[in-house]
Subunit: 131 residues, 2 copies
DNA sequence: ATGGGTGCAAAGTGTTTGCAAGTAT
DNA sequence: ATACTTGCAAACACTTTGCACCCAT
């Protein structure tokens, strides 16, 4: 059985994610952590983000392009702007009943669902240069 | 202004997608089309899938790993098995009211949302060798 | 004839992995 | 001491692109 160890790298990585409210990518975390530890490698960042997500210390948001990481620990929905790529939390409650409905109607053992709203964020909409 | 042309390649590609009810990946389409046209290239398949999705002749399902293509033309939800990777349509109606709710509460110009249920499909569950 | 489409191969992204050396427990 | 973790670089998987030629309109 595997026990996860505490290392200065994984602490730096978790700290970096928790400092953010804007859903950084693995690469952004890597660049940030590297500011205080110029030896750390991308591999270490990816490996630790995986472990921290497994442990439930952070959430992984699966969006096209690159996965994002979220310091919030409760499952929730996201919005992504197709112009600037920003990812923001959606102000909706998780609809647990949908998981139950799908299970009952299909026998699929649903563990969770992910919902992502796509569109244009207010800032980009104001920008005029639409589409 | 760009006008899309009809070519034998894009006809073969659309046919291949429509022949499927199991959400093939671009590469599966490529391999299949190549059976009747051994000259076609992956680039052409990717380019045409993009165009066909833009035109609304097929739907793109964005799931981790590789995007899938769906002959159904109405927006709907999907389930993905984390064991075998199968993608299946979910038997739920699209919840239009959510798009409206998010717009009202955030000003985000929502165009649509995507929902993917994650879990274990009945076949894999029966397999015993879980997790 | 004209301008979008094609095949090919190379290049891009984002992510994973094998390995020898390092380190938390 | 043990066995998980790291840094490095190479390998991966999926997708996009530059270019010269082709072909639908």
């Amino acid at each position: 059985m595997i026990r996860y160890r505490t290392t200065k790298q994984n602490q730096l990585i978790l700290d970096a994610v928790q400092k953010h409210c804007d859903h950084p990518t693995a690469d952004q975390i890597y660049l940030e952590v590297r500011a205080s530890n110029d030896q750390i490698s991308r591999g270490t960042v990816y490996r630790n983000l995986d472990k921290l997500a497994d442990l439930g210390s952070l959430l992984r948001v699966k969006v096209p392009g690159a996965d994002r990481y979220d310091c919030r620990l409760d499952v929730h929905y996201h919005m992504i702007c197709r112009k600037c790529g920003a990812v923001v939390d959606a102000p909706l409650a998780y609809h647990h009943e949908l998981d139950q409905q799908v299970l009952e109607q299909t026998g699929f053992l649903v563990e969770r669902h992910r919902t992502v709203f796509e569109g244009i964020c207010p800032a980009c909409a104001a920008d005029g240069t639409q589409k």
